[in-house]
């Protein structure tokens, strides 16, 4: 291996690492606030990327129908409860957000020639479809069992993961998709050609991390989420609704997932089931941070990205084996350092 190959591999590793870092942050956030291990994070990545790809090929993305169905279910549940309590206005509000919005979005997408829209608008529309699924998913799947043991929540996540993979196959088909790059220039740094997409990934990741940092440090909602993460019951006694915290967390996680998908779609071919492995690598990083520390998770993500890049050079067939076997010593170290004297659930 010479210097230039090492540089190219590092570039690959850092680009992927940035995406893993974003996913790891979302996973840490979701776990800290709701105790849910968000296995289906990877599916949000794939849904983001493939929804954009569908739009660009001029097809109405099927994910919008999933949004409509989920919204209808939420409306039936929450709207029904509100009506029973005689809160007509609240019921109307629930229906407006959960049913009116998806239907309006579907109508708009049906009416527009989406493939001729500028890329930025397509990206926004993609996020508008995929991101609301996060809070709806929390409402439908997790809220009824929010106090269940972590392991039950984990099995629910795994179940949703396989359901979403199946739906992904139905929506997007078995073919892989790759979207065109956001912009067509590249930067020459010595022997290294840095593509525009790499820069996009790095810049957006950095902006997002800074944004989240500000959100958690400066805003009331951010602080409410942090409070919930530190002490769920205490936060609830202070008037922070765990339901709101859960929905907000899932909103952020879905946003990060879908945006990551949009960002990497021009770099890697995304299949309906690609998300799982991407999400799991985010997990390896999150676990390096003990599912608790954001900076450590980000460092872990870069390490995973680099390891993967170099492993694919030396032993490409064994790339996944290497990445996933290395998680075990990390898990072990984590589990030994975070001392559990009390019983586990």
């Amino acid at each position: 291996m010479d210097m230039s190959i090492a540089l190219i591999l590092s570039q690959d590793g850092i680009t992927n690492g940035a995406i893993y870092a974003l996913l790891a942050l979302a996973l840490v956030l979701v776990f800290a606030v709701t105790r849910v291990i968000f296995i289906q994070q990877g599916e949000f990545v794939a849904y983001g990327a493939l929804t954009l790809a569908m739009m660009q090929s001029g097809v109405l993305p099927a994910t919008v129908w999933m949004l409509v169905v989920m919204g209808a279910l939420v409306t039936a549940l929450d709207g029904g409860l509100a009506l029973k309590a005689g809160q007509g206005r609240r019921a109307a509000g629930v229906a407006g957000w959960n049913l009116g919005y998806p239907l309006a979005l579907a109508a708009a997408l049906g009416g527009l020639a989406v493939d001729e829209l500028p890329l930025a608008v397509q990206v926004l529309l993609t996020l508008a479809i995929v991101v609301p699924m996060g809070p709806m998913m929390y409402r439908l799947m997790y809220q009824p069992i929010a106090s269940a043991p972590v392991l039950v929540l984990l099995i629910v996540s795994v179940a949703l993961h396989i359901a979403m993979v199946g739906l992904g196959l139905l929506f997007f088909g078995a073919e892989g998709q790759r979207t065109p790059a956001f912009s067509e220039f590249s930067l020459e740094l010595g022997p290294l050609m840095v593509s525009a997409q790499t820069l996009w990934v790095l810049v957006v990741s950095a902006l997002l991390i800074v944004g989240l940092y500000q959100f958690f440090g400066r805003t009331l909602y951010g602080k409410a989420l942090r409070a919930t993460a530190i002490n769920r019951v205490g936060a609830q006694l202070m008037g922070i609704s765990p339901t709101l915290a859960g929905k907000l967390t899932f909103f952020l996680a879905a946003f990060i997932g879908a945006l990551s998908g949009v960002l990497i779609a021009p770099i890697t071919t995304i299949y309906y089931d690609t998300g799982f492995l991407i999400g799991l690598k985010g997990f390896v990083a999150a676990i390096i941070g003990g599912l608790a520390s954001y900076p450590l998770a980000a460092v872990g993500a870069l390490a995973v990205g680099l390891l993967e890049a170099f492993a694919s050079f030396w032993a490409s067939a064994y790339k996944e084996v290497i990445v996933f076997t290395l998680i075990i010593p990390v898990l072990l170290w984590r589990s030994l350092t975070s001392h559990h004297v009390e019983e586990e659930e």
């Binding site: 009824p144 984990l154 799991l280 996933f324 072990l332 589990s335």
Partner: protein, 597 residues
């Protein structure tokens, strides 16, 4: 004839007749159900009973299948291994040995993982093994290995679905029988204590790490046997059925069927397999596309089960069959368990010297010293938060003192396992009751006798432990009667009132035949009559030579019972003496009632 045996007999007769009645299609379906149920049975033991969630079982199935496939089809085995390829039965042995070794290796790495880290770990090694099957050239890569011979048995060649059917179900039924036996035994109680009772079990002398390893290896071996049968039924293997997604499916089977129940494995495997078959025929034509869309239904079904019936389908089905659980019988003629010789009255049993325990900046125990002698009851009292329970934990090995010395029967024990200390003859109860709420009072108390008996996993599985088991149950029943819970012996421990649960803990501690009893607030929540009875019991134990250390807030109870009192406040000893002296001690009065102005 007992109703449960009748139902079981009917089920077995039906199984026997299946190949004669049903078409080959259904026989094949039942073959798969049997194979999957065997893996799900391992998960019942591992996840449902032991609380260890694994998504990686499919990898062990693969290990069994690939071992036999590679050995029975290889033409150029090295001489030292050539014997193994000659018969599938030999490759079964090789596969089981190999799986045991791999499971012990993986287990010793990952079973230390706590809580949710473990299932994530199983996903990791599940994926790794799957990719290994697919990338290793010698295993045929992604195309796999074909031409695997059929199994021969006593001159028959089991090369048709209707023939291997009997072998598969024989394997499964034997596995279910042995698992059932195992759970209903000394080792089984230790395994059932893993979920939610590890600290208690360790304090009763159960090596919980070993129990975790035992069920992990058993689950892996069941998966391996299923893989061996699968390879010889299909006569072909490739990596697809051994991926992590199939591992997830196995877990679904266990959870849907009822992860806590042996029969749940068959129910779950049956429901998921039939549903899968049906959905695979039906969904693609409905949706107008090809692919494995059944995962959508499975995923949502799974969420529904976890929302509505977290125990799975078996408990619901069980209600439909009019079979009542059979009560355990106590064999009055069973030989009593051996007892230890108690030290002579007055002999020094426990000595704590300058024990200090810091939690960061907080000093929970500061230079605490106390002594307990045989035939004596020492009370440790003090206001809430004085550090009494922390002191208990230092003495009993649940926690390790920052500095200082604890000597039990003359030997230093600070920092030793609570298990080891329990073996030396110390037994305790907990301030926050620790018992297994769904187990009967009798079985909860029987855990106390763990160290007085030694039958292991194999004897339990094959029912060679019955004589010892009868002795254990007799001893447990004796202790239950002694503490006055006889009428509740067969009830679920969780259904008792809190005061009675504390008494149950005393019976469990006594079942260990200790020479030192540590009781943490035994009288809390008891009514007056019950307190009097408890006092009587403790006096009687004292007269037999038992040393007792008791933490209690009820001063009437303490002062009329104990020989000496040690008073703690803010982690330190502020007074020590006879009950009458303590009640006059100004420092004690100040601690309890505030300063005398």
């Amino acid at each position: 004839m007992r109703a449960d045996r009748l139902v079981l007999g009917a089920f077995l007769a039906l199984l026997l007749l299946v190949p004669a009645i049903l078409s080959p299609y259904y026989v094949t379906l039942l073959n798969y159900i049997g194979l999957y149920a065997m893996v799900a049975l391992g998960l019942v033991l591992l996840t449902g009973v032991g609380g260890l969630t694994s998504f990686g079982q499919a990898a062990f199935v693969g290990l069994g299948a690939y071992t036999t496939a590679a050995l029975t089809t290889a033409t150029d085995l090295p001489a030292w291994l050539a014997w193994a390829g000659t018969s599938p039965w030999l490759t079964l042995v090789v596969g089981l040995l190999l799986t045991a070794v791999v499971a012990v290796l993986i287990g010793s790495l990952t079973l230390k993982l706590s809580g949710h880290f473990l299932p994530l770990g199983t996903i990791a090694w599940g994926i790794s093994l799957y990719f290994l099957f697919g990338t290793m050239e010698s295993l045929g890569g992604h195309t796999g290995i074909s031409g695997i011979p059929a199994i021969g048995l006593l001159g028959w060649t089991l090369d048709e679905g209707g023939e291997i059917y009997y072998l598969i179900w024989a394997f499964l039924l034997v596995a279910m029988l042995t698992t059932h036996n195992l759970l209903d035994s000394r080792e089984g109680r230790a395994i059932r204590a893993l979920k939610g009772g590890r600290i208690m079990a360790e304090a009763m002398g159960v090596d919980t790490s070993r129990s975790r390893m035992v069920i992990f290896v058993i689950a892996a071996l069941l998966a391996c046997a299923s893989g061996w049968l699968y390879a010889h039924m299909q006569r072909f293997v490739n990596p697809t059925p051994f991926g992590v997604h199939i591992g997830i499916e196995y877990l679904f089977m266990a959870v849907v069927g009822g992860a806590g129940y042996v029969w749940g494995a068959i129910v779950g495997a049956g429901v998921i397999t039939v549903l899968k078959q049906w959905l695979q025929n039906w969904l693609p034509s409905l949706l107008g596309a090809t692919g494995s869309f059944e995962t959508i239904v499975f995923g949502l079904l799974m969420v529904l089960v976890l929302h509505r019936a977290r125990e799975g389908l078996w408990p619901i089905l069980k209600k439909l069959v009019p079979v009542r659980a059979v009560r355990k019988t106590i064999d009055a003629d069973a030989e009593p368990l051996p007892r230890r010789t108690l030290p002579k009255a007055g002999e020094l049993i426990l000595e704590a010297k300058d024990v200090t325990r810091r939690f960061g900046g907080l000093i929970a125990n500061n230079n605490m010293s106390l002594e307990v002698r045989a035939g004596e009851i020492l009370a440790l009292i003090g206001p809430n938060g004085a550090g009494k329970s922390t002191m208990f934990n230092q003495i009993s090995g649940v926690d390790t003192p920052t500095s200082g010395e604890v000597r039990f029967l003359g030997k230093p024990v600070a920092g030793h396992d609570s298990r080891e200390i329990a073996r030396m003859g110390m037994s305790r109860t907990f301030q926050h009751v620790r018992l297994l709420p769904t187990m009967s009072v009798l079985e909860n108390v029987a855990i106390g006798a763990h160290l007085r008996s030694d039958k292991g996993v194999l004897s339990s599985a094959w029912r060679l432990d019955r004589a010892e088991e009868a002795r254990i149950l007799k001893e447990a029943a004796r202790q239950i009667e002694r503490v006055g819970l006889a009428e509740h012996m067969y009830e679920e421990a969780g259904s008792l009132a809190l005061g009675q649960q504390r008494i149950l803990e005393i019976a469990r501690a006594l079942c260990a035949d200790p020479c030192l009893l540590l009781l943490d607030e035994p009288a809390a929540g008891l009514r007056l009559k019950e307190k009097e009875a408890l006092g009587e019991l403790l006096r009687k134990l004292r007269s037999e030579g038992m040393a007792t250390l008791i933490v209690e807030h009820d001063m009437d109870f303490v002062m009329s019972l104990v020989d000496r009192v040690v008073v703690m406040e803010f982690g330190q000893k502020i007074a020590e003496g006879l009950p009458d002296e303590i009640q006059q001690n100004p420092a004690v009065l100040e601690a309890y009632l505030g300063g005398v102005e």
